[in-house]
């Protein structure tokens, strides 16, 4: 889902415009068995450059070639020596050979073990040649498969030259908004305009042992004293910790502060997060009372902060120049209460149990829902006035009211209650008791109301 927040500040805000500039790639139907791609490998989160070979493509010359070779005891599609990947010029002349570091046969056999050879019959369906050579995105590539490791008898080749396609792209978002009666650092309030800017690139280095990423989240205000103004630039590395769980550890450096840099800190953090197993909850968290199909997302971060500049106000006292914090947090979305559909949206009903074999189950309807975020800043080096260690808890809770199919208001709010398969609307009522770590842990308590458009990603 792509979520565009239309309004989210002080009762009801006028939203000026929203611009979302992102690129994404969707898998194209495989017309040729060969393609070249850079992507993040799971579960290690290692970036790789690879040649993808669709050995299961039917009909194809490659399929037929493997059928002929599958019983040849001297041929093994899992051995790098049977492949050659070369950079070629436009005429097809080989300029240099690339090193195939590893051959990965995708999929497990019927016994649950990883494939170790080409079985024929389209199994495995895909092979990847992991390259250890540096390749430029403009390089033209050609792939050869041989019957022997001497590479004398060729059994298949890519008929067209290949070029690497990235699987991730930088994303850039700009969202202007108006914020009436915004709190300023000097204790006053005034109407301001704000500009949310985000940037992210999840895979800066296309090949290496670690995933390298960069991101920025900024809120620029028309008033430099706006307590919410913030800049944050982050660069980091990450890698998976456990082989059977998405559990990345991240080491990152962030430069953060407000837009005038009167608050400015360098934060070194080490973070671990995971999605816990959740299927075991289906007996008590998937019923007509509560539907929580997805697990909460816990994380814990260790942060070392070096403060370059500090803005001291009535609400934000002077903090130590060097600080350490422990930040456990917990986020739980997609909780809904199906029984409310009957109470409020009587035109809809919710199917929670699988029907008979020949009758497909409709997607569970989301009714009144909620989202919860909780967290804690433990600041052992930062003492309070009573000389005790500082702890700042924070959290927010949102009540989500789906407007699409909202029968009782269908005549008054035709557009937002109509919706479609690709666009739906919901009302978010949110209470936040927030602590702004980028602004000396300034605390704000706020009710917000907004209408969100949920747009299905293409």
């Amino acid at each position: 889902m792509t979520r565009i927040q239309l309004a989210n500040c002080a009762s009801l805000l006028l939203v000026l415009a929203g611009v979302v500039l992102t690129q994404s790639s969707s898998p194209a139907a495989a017309q040729t068995p060969y393609s070249a791609v850079t992507y993040i490998r799971y579960p290690s989160l290692q970036p790789v450059s690879a040649i993808d070979i669709s050995t299961g493509l039917f009909p194809s010359d490659l399929y037929d070639a493997i059928e002929k070779e599958k019983n040849n005891p001297k041929w093994n599609c899992a051995v790098p020596g049977f492949y050659k990947v070369a950079v070629v010029d436009k005429t097809g002349k080989i300029l240099r050979n690339l090193t195939v570091e590893e051959v990965v046969l995708m999929g497990n056999d019927p016994s649950g073990a990883r494939f170790t050879k080409c079985q024929g019959h389209g199994l495995p369906g895909e092979i990847q040649l992991i390259l250890s050579s540096d390749v430029d995105s403009n390089d033209l590539l050609k792939v050869f498969i041989y019957e022997d490791t001497d590479q004398k008898t060729q059994i298949s080749t890519s008929t067209q030259t290949l070029q690497f396609t990235a699987s991730s792209f930088p994303a850039f978002t700009i969202t202007p908004q108006a914020a009436p009666a915004e709190a300023l650092n000097n204790g006053e309030t005034r109407d301001v305009g704000q500009l949310n800017v985000t940037f992210s690139d999840s895979n800066l280095v296309k090949r290496g042992p670690l995933n390298v990423y960069a991101k920025s989240t900024d809120l620029f205000s028309t008033d430099g004293k706006d307590a919410k103004s913030a800049m944050s630039f982050t660069g980091g590395i990450q890698r998976g910790l456990f082989p059977r769980w998405y559990s990345p550890w991240q080491l990152q450096e962030t430069l953060q502060g407000n837009q005038t840099a009167k608050n400015l800190s360098a934060v070194t953090s080490f973070r671990l997060s995971a999605d816990p197993p959740w299927l075991w909850t289906r007996s008590f968290l998937n019923n007509k009372t509560i539907l929580a199909p997805l697990p909460p997302e816990p994380s814990i971060a260790n942060l070392y902060t070096h403060r370059l500049n500090q803005l001291v106000t009535e609400k934000t006292p002077l903090l130590a120049q060097d600080d350490y914090s422990l930040n456990p947090s917990f986020s739980w979305d997609t909780i809904s209460f199906p029984f409310t559909c009957k109470l409020l949206f009587w035109e809809r009903s919710v199917a929670l149990t699988p029907p008979a074999a020949d009758q497909p189950t409709p997607l569970p309807t989301t009714c009144l829902g909620t989202e919860i975020d909780l967290g804690l800043w433990y600041l052992p080096l930062d003492l309070t006035a009573s000389k005790s260690q500082r702890v700042e808890g924070y959290g927010d809770i949102s009540i989500l009211i789906p407007l699409t199919d909202f029968a009782v208001a269908s005549k008054q709010l035709t557009y937002v209650t109509g919706g479609s398969n690709s666009t739906k609307f919901q009302l978010r009522i949110k209470y936040a008791d927030a602590v702004n770590a980028t602004n000396n842990y300034a605390r704000t308590k706020q009710w917000t109301v907004g209408i969100e458009a949920l747009i299905a990603a293409k």
Partner: protein, 176 residues
């Protein structure tokens, strides 16, 4: 390990699909029947990046598919996602070719693909070759994914004189 039979290939594809279902780590996905799950958009079940990352980590273990970039999850159903690396069309084609008229059993894939269904299965939907093939298909494809309605439509294609194998196989692999 011993070679995998054509019917095992089709069965393995559905094992992979069930593995995808478990890998979602979602109670909603777990309670769907297999056809609904196959047709559901990945991002409808796994809206956040964290959930998508969890899914990709899980499927790298079982069914052992580790080469899917996270961007490939957008705008695709679970069946489409699995078909990208393991096309069901291929495994249905392998099964049907193995049960076709002996003259086509060792044909090149392109020749089999363009063959007439009447040549592959003489006698139409009532003929012995197709009866055996249909029996094999129904024994390995879960009933919810190969309903009586789809079977009747497939039989019509088999009985149509101008139908090619390239018409028949995608019709079966579309599921329903």
């Amino acid at each position: 390990m011993p070679s995998i039979s054509p019917s095992q290939g089709v069965a393995l594809w559905f094992t992979y699909l069930r593995d995808f279902q478990a890998a979602c780590n979602s109670t909603t996905a777990a309670q769907m029947d297999l056809l609904t799950f196959a047709d559901t958009s990945v991002t409808a079940i796994l809206p956040s990046a964290q959930e998508q990352n969890t899914f990709l980590t899980n499927i790298a273990v079982s069914p052992g598919i580790s080469g899917i970039p996270i961007s490939a999850l957008a705008g695709v159903s679970f069946e489409g996602l699995l078909d990208n690396s393991n096309p069901l069309v291929t495994y249905v084609a392998v099964l049907l070719q193995s049960l076709s008229d002996p003259s086509l059993q060792n044909a090149a894939s392109a020749d089999y693909w363009s063959a007439l269904v009447s040549a592959a299965f003489p006698g139409g939907s009532k003929g012995a070759p197709w009866t055996v093939a249909m029996g094999s298909l129904t024994s390995v494809i879960p009933a919810v994914c190969f309903t009586a309605t789809l079977q009747a439509a497939v039989n019509k294609t088999v009985d149509k004189a101008t139908s090619k194998v390239s018409d028949l196989i995608p019709q079966i692999a579309r599921l329903g």
